[in-house]
Symmetry: none
Subunit: 415 residues, 2 copies
């Protein structure tokens, strides 16, 4: 068993009311056991549409995993199509009927005809008991083709996958193991990172794929390896990761899906350093990100969201002359804010941001997107000037990322 | 134009690393203008796979909307397949080149060969300018078949859809209109809301569907109507909205996908009131939400994230005796924080939260999830005690929602 297709059934997905997270789950789990999902498709609650998809994908793929259309209501017809496709009648399954009866009585809901019908299954299928809901999984597996229908409720589908489907598929998977490794970078544009890594093809040597996944807070590099065994995949990944790190180490703040505030939290905890934040244009978002990390009370003392000039003067003791002479968005004020919050909190590190979020308020000298990021510590104060024009929330993302990255680099001694 | 297919290109979706939100967006927007998406499909970054999908869906559907695979790196091949599919060469488009140059220079990023290549487009296509990124949309439209390729970055795709694609498709759509209306409630449980609305079937009278969509910050009610014309759909929705508001008005803070901080921003602006925030367990998230609203500098003066007791005493002047006697998480301290931030900022309204986020730090008297929310204004100070135990980020969601809702009710004179 090497290839698979995921078919999702439901009008609610076609009209965009629900995002197709079931297909994503299936794609992820199968790739981990070495079965490649090479097609995902969504069809509506229509007999002909479903039948056509069953025929096409059963023909083309070793395994077909179907979700949705098994509820008790009139528009759920997957089971009927399934029975017709295998040319068998629907028959009552007593173990399923028992399960349905049990679940309803526990909730004090009377058993109705539509509930009983949930225990009808295509004759000859293997029932995959659903301990998390009423509609069972139903499997036809002749040793060549693997065809399974599961309910569309995510946690029910996920449990049936984990308990029944994946263990069976795993022993038959002859495809390669597919493994991924993500390296998160920030502070470098996609195209510059691409150049920095040099000739990608020779780096990869045909052993892996490398994807560049940019967002407003940085570029994620994803290494994907197909190999015969997990061990082989891991060893290729380790080798490539080493080569990439050799070239781009300073931009990489995490291996795996870890946020920079977590990386920073570990570093601050290790070094026993406390941090405080003075922010203006990010409006509390930097403090929010820092405190998203469990245990942050161990190193985060306070945050000041000094939106008005008065707040900058009163809480952070920014001199009024600086504000008048250079304006709130200036290197001088960023410096005073960072030093101010460090002083009042007695923290080891004070960081500050002051900038112009826009859309209004820009001038030729100080355009929308301009931001000054300050960092004060025992060694002195540095201020970075950045231009990060963007939509309001993305601006906050980018500025906070740049501020946290500045701290990371400072702790590493590279800024 | 009646039917459409959405093709999403990208290995990251097949392996479940990214959920296919682009297809959901396309499905939703097309259903609103009366074009039915009857097929969604995901294919990998493979030439043959993409070509096969192009052929199959171009043949079967009136419109084909494609996203993904337009980045500057080696694994993005959609454009090459598109050119081959229409049997034309890739040619340099000067307006796109200008746009790429512009965007890069604004960010101080040097122009490279891979960036220039982004301005290559299939000859004869119509370029849909991307003002939000570098890769343009590309359209082939011969009056019968509508074939458009867009970048996979969600906000770029969404903007190109709204500015270019939807207006063109709309005038040619001949299907049934599907419209939704969302009413956002907070401060009432799903089951209580259900009871409050009474007999739903007689309320709807077969003219619409009503969905209850609960989340940690409240229950969204979604009315869905299918009708022959936009006008008919709108009139049914207006009637139903009126009936629902009659019963549940006080819990409804927005019609449409509007956040409570926007509702609050409008109210504060209208009443010319300023607000300041003192927060502990939410770590800056309340200030962040308030400042997400454009124009919030008009009514938001400052926020204090007083994570440590020292910060509460030094900035907010919370008496040390209160902290000692009642603890940081107490009605008394919440009151002192709200009054403190109101006093130091001279704002009309001061709000405060102090609570136990968990997972550790709870006691029998003060369990995890306990939070006190304070509000000080000219009429006095009130403190609400709530129990909102949840995972760290969801806890921040719920507490900030409760705090903002407290202000909304205070401004309406119902708390």
């Amino acid at each position: 068993m090497r290839t698979a297709a995921a078919i999702t059934i439901g009008d609610e997905i076609l009209i965009g009311q629900v995002t197709n997270t079931n297909a994503a789950f299936i794609g992820q789990k199968l790739s981990e056991i070495g079965v490649e999902v090479t097609r995902m498709v969504v069809v509506g609650d229509e007999y002909e549409e479903i039948m056509t998809a069953f025929k096409e994908y059963y023909e083309k793929f070793d395994a077909v995993l179907i979700t949705g259309g098994l509820g008790p209501t009139h528009d759920d017809i997957t089971k009927r199509v399934m029975a017709d496709f295998f040319n068998v009648p629907l028959v009552m399954d007593n173990s399923v009927l028992e399960n349905v009866r049990d679940r309803l009585s526990k909730r004090g809901i009377p058993m109705r005809k539509v509930n009983e019908d949930q225990a009808l299954v295509p004759e000859g299928c293997e029932v995959l008991m659903n301990h998390w809901g009423t509609a069972p999984g139903m499997l036809f597996d002749d040793g060549k083709k693997f065809f399974v229908v599961m309910p569309g409720v995510p946690h029910e589908m996920q449990n049936i996958m984990s308990e029944h489907v994946l263990p069976r598929m795993k022993v038959r998977a002859i495809g390669q193991v597919i493994k991924h490794r993500v390296l998160k970078t920030t502070g470098i544009a996609e195209s510059s990172l691409y150049e920095l890594l040099g000739d990608i093809d020779s780096l990869l040597g045909g052993r892996a794929k490398l994807a560049f996944l940019p967002s407003q807070i940085g570029v994620r590099l994803r290494i994907t390896v197909k190999a015969a065994t997990t061990e082989e995949a891991d060893s290729i990944i380790a080798d490539l990761e080493g080569k990439i790190r050799n070239k781009a180490e300073r931009y990489i703040y995490a291996g795996g899906e870890v946020d920079i505030e977590e990386t920073l939290g570990r570093m601050l905890t290790e070094k026993k350093l406390a941090i405080s934040v003075a922010e203006s244009c990010t409006g509390g978002f930097i403090s929010h990100r820092i405190t998203n990390v469990s245990g942050s009370s161990g190193y985060f003392d306070r945050g000041v969201v000094s939106y008005s000039n008065r707040a900058k003067m009163e809480i952070l003791h920014v001199p009024g002359e600086l504000l008048e002479k250079f304006g709130a968005v200036s290197e001088e004020v960023a410096r005073a804010m960072a030093e101010g919050v460090r002083n009042i909190s007695s923290s080891d590190i004070g960081i500050s941001v002051t900038g112009i979020a826009g859309p209004t308020g820009g001038t030729p000298e100080k355009p929308v997107g301009l931001v000054y990021i300050g960092l004060a510590d025992a060694a002195g104060t540095i201020v970075e000037r950045r231009l990060l024009p963007d939509e309001r929330l993305r601006f906050k993302d980018r500025v906070s990322q740049a501020a946290l990255e500045l701290v990371r680099k400072r702790l590493l001694g590279i800024s």
